[in-house]
Amino acid sequence: MTGHAAPADPAKVESVFREVYGQAVATLIRVCGDITLAEDAVQDAFVAATDRWRRDGIPPNPAGWIVTTARNRAIDQHRRSTRGREFERDAADESGLNSELSAGGREGNGAVTDDQLRLIFICCHPALRTEHQVALTLRLLGGLSVEEIARGFLVTETAMAKRLGRAKYKIKAARIPYRVPVKSDLPHRLRPVLSVIYLIYNAGTDELDERAPLRQEAIRLTRALASLMSGEPEVAGLLALLLLNESRVPARSGDGSIVLLRDQDRTMWDQRMIDEGHAIVRACIDNNESGPYQLQAAIQAVHCSAETFEVTDWPQILTLYDHLFSVMPSAVVALNRAIAVSEADGPVAGLVALDAISPDLVKYHLLHAARATALRRLGRIDEARDAYATAADLATVAADRDHLLLQIRALDGGET
């Protein structure tokens, strides 16, 4: 490419930065062996790119441009230090980097893809606490600003900056290695990676509009992971689960209030995401190496294939929940199973199942909401009202509380 391309649109430049951030930081950490130095170098490269690209346009290989520029900055920084020479020699070994980058970036093989995997595994190392894993993943891989992450998790920017600082301190002080785990460690090392991504997605569902970036980032990360680890069925399972959940988001809120699955306008669901999710679930079933994310995806796949709430294949969903509970016996899975019992075998059976698990979930608003729904279907209106009121008291998200109070008003309206 020669001559002068058209000046780049600032918004486009911004989106390219977001796209290449994780890749650039991942590579620079390998080159300079330090997360903070890597972040600074990439930031410097972005500043240089902002000037240059707005004038000359975005280069054909923006990721390569950023990495090369950042690496040169990092080398400049280090020249002044005592380790300078040694560092320069190490960096010279990276000369193959540009060709790797232009050869295919994210999908390409070799060092670049390995760098991103290494970074995912360092961010989600089991020696770090979950809130630190989440913050690091969004900052280093997602390129979200400290302020954006703080907003997503309802803490101040200062508190989030401190959290990131502590996490990076531990990585450095305790020498958490920058390495893809060996095959035998993968099952227990992959688990926190997947749960961090799912947690990021779920944090994004508390406020559907405002926190859409968290959900998008979770899906983008899972896609990247799925292409880097195509042999891991649970990664594919998580991707399908996120796509199928996300497909229903357009129908989930009306005027800022929650619309339940049974009341959603199913024509608003994103059919393209559903098709992709279904295809992955089918491949997982063929592959026959089941796991918790694949099972949850299969359950959502059944929901997404039903044209109406009434024709949902509840017996199939119940079977899948039984299977899920056998591999993941959590109280929340038991609750969802009991709700499926209510739909498959009727509200009487549902109440029995709900009462059996209520001691574990007495403080969880969705247990009381599920009881209220079953009681309402049985015509036990006073008990239903009490259960909705308990649920509303326990709900922590305003939209959930509003929705439950609305149910009480609907009951009272229905009575008079």
């Binding site: 002080a173 305790a174 020498r175 958490i176 290695p177 390495r179 785990p181």
Partner: protein, 128 residues
């Protein structure tokens, strides 16, 4: 190569529910001896030991005029370090793998803490 402190804690006052039967104790000793031999062979073992209880502890501190001694541990706490290993390890994953072996062996949690520097200060001055 870095060094890590692998420590295990005991509780004071709380008598352990049931002292393990002698056969179990014997088996644990044998496992520990075998593990320590393995650590030696791998060049991991630096030093280690089992400590007396906090009642045997004395704190020494420099006051204005003289050095003062007090009976008992520095931090009054129910939990206290009961024993430790100092090991050489390439990185945290390697240290955690040894810690996993130790906890399997003795059936108690192990705290893994990296040394910022070890040996004589002249060899490893603390970084500012």
């Amino acid at each position: 190569m870095s060094q890590y402190l692998l420590s295990t804690y005991g509780s004071q006052g709380e008598p352990s529910a049931e002292p393990p039967p002698p056969e179990a104790m014997q088996a644990m000793m044998e496992r520990t001896i075998a593990l320590e031999a393995e650590m030696d062979a791998a060049g991991t073992f630096v030093f280690g030991g089992h400590l007396h209880g906090p009642d045997a502890t004395t704190v020494v501190r420099s006051g204005d005029a003289e050095v003062v001694m007090t009976d008992g541990p520095f931090v009054e706490s129910k939990e206290h370090i009961a024993g430790f290993y100092i090991i050489n390890a390439e990185d945290l994953d390697a240290a955690l793998a040894w810690a996993a072996r130790v906890t399997e062996c003795i059936g108690r949690p192990i705290e893994v803490r990296p040394f910022a520097g070890s040996g004589r200060v002249i060899d490893h001055p603390p970084s500012p």
